[in-house]
Symmetry: C2
Subunit: 190 residues, 2 copies
DNA sequence: AGAAAAACGGACCATCGGTCCGGATGGCGC
DNA sequence: GCGCCATCCGGACCGATGGTCCGTTTTTCT
């Protein structure tokens, strides 16, 4: 056995409380005190389970993106391995964009909390590695690692909010895809 | 008269103290208390002069970048108006990159403090407008506004620190330039 | 049932950004 | 040189926050 029943129950209570607070207030509305109170647990519990404020937000983000990660790693094309690079790229950006657009507030809160550790975060490293592979295959003449950082840098909560007009929730994603295509260059245009 | 002598003296003392703290500790080592103590002034003074922690960091950043702004607006080519777009772009990125590389810590501290206001900051808007103009001229087929955000998103303190190896301080700038060129596309290659 | 292990909870702490106001200080007119 | 008034100073003060700690409760295993 790895987790006691009450521990598991409390963990989901805390996560649900966090997303409620995230939804109804800004990102800085989520304080550990408030989360604990709303979840009906003690502050120590929140901390013990998630290590820190950053850990809590990371866990929530993980929950939101694990599905995409699986699909990218093991799923069927166009997301998963096997299809043409350009399609994989677009499908991946579509998926990541959807997550980002739906979690812009969480994204900025997490960014603020993580600060410097951002680039060593396993989740970031996975996205980066994936993009890296795709870019390297399509443009072996460029620095794929850097371009991958460049694309991921777009996924900033504040930027997304800034660029998403009411009534067109996918605008950001389309822009990201356009930029990615521009980076891939005109070669191989259908 | 616009500023009393002691006020001016204190302002520079505070700015110097801030940069010292920034240099010797991390970005979160710069608390208003510490700044005030090191500058030999009261906390209220720091606050009155700069409005907030974010304002203090912004002022410091402003001090570092005003020269580049002038050069871009009124200076001679290749930085200033008049030269070929591609050269202006490279020169601008070289200048901005140098500032960013020399102030990575300040950059992340400022980013954290500003959070959402980042995209309405006058300084950001200026850089963005400039890039926008250049990109729109070179690639009228793309969304210049978005691409400009994409390029500016690279200027993240943590990313710069992450990508700058000891012994090659300009590596980041070169990568940014390469990516910008990739965005401009192959058209017009010399 | 009983005991050890695991988890709980919330008081507690240091620190932070920001506010406020009585007191000091500088500039200007004389 | 002097005195007056606006301006500025300083640091005590505040509410909130992230994080810690330990006596108490709950779970689970035997």
């Amino acid at each position: 056995m790895s987790e006691r029943a009450d521990a598991a129950r409390n963990r989901v209570a805390v996560l649900r409380a966090t997303e409620r607070l995230l939804a109804e207030g800004g990102g800085d509305h989520v304080s550990l005190d408030r989360v604990a109170a709303l979840a009906g647990v003690g502050k120590g519990t929140v901390f013990r389970r998630f290590g820190s404020r950053a850990g809590l937000l990371r866990a929530l983000l993980e929950e939101r993106s694990s599905e995409l990660r699986e699909a990218v790693r093991d799923g069927a094309p166009p997301l998963g391995p096997g299809g043409p690079v350009r399609e994989r790229m677009l499908a991946f950006l579509d998926g990541l964009g959807a997550i980002a657009e739906g979690n812009a507030v969480l994204l900025s809160a997490h960014g603020q909390a993580c600060a410097d550790d951002k680039y060593t975060d396993p989740s970031y490293l996975f996205w980066h590695g994936h993009l890296c592979g795709l870019l390297a295959e399509a443009r072996p003449d460029l620095d794929a690692g850097f371009l991958a950082h460049g694309i991921l840098a777009l996924f900033d909560g504040a930027l997304i909010r800034h660029l998403t007009p009411p009534g067109d929730p996918r605008r950001f994603t389309r822009s990201v895809q356009e930029m990615a295509l521009a980076l891939l260059g005109a070669e191989g245009v259908t």
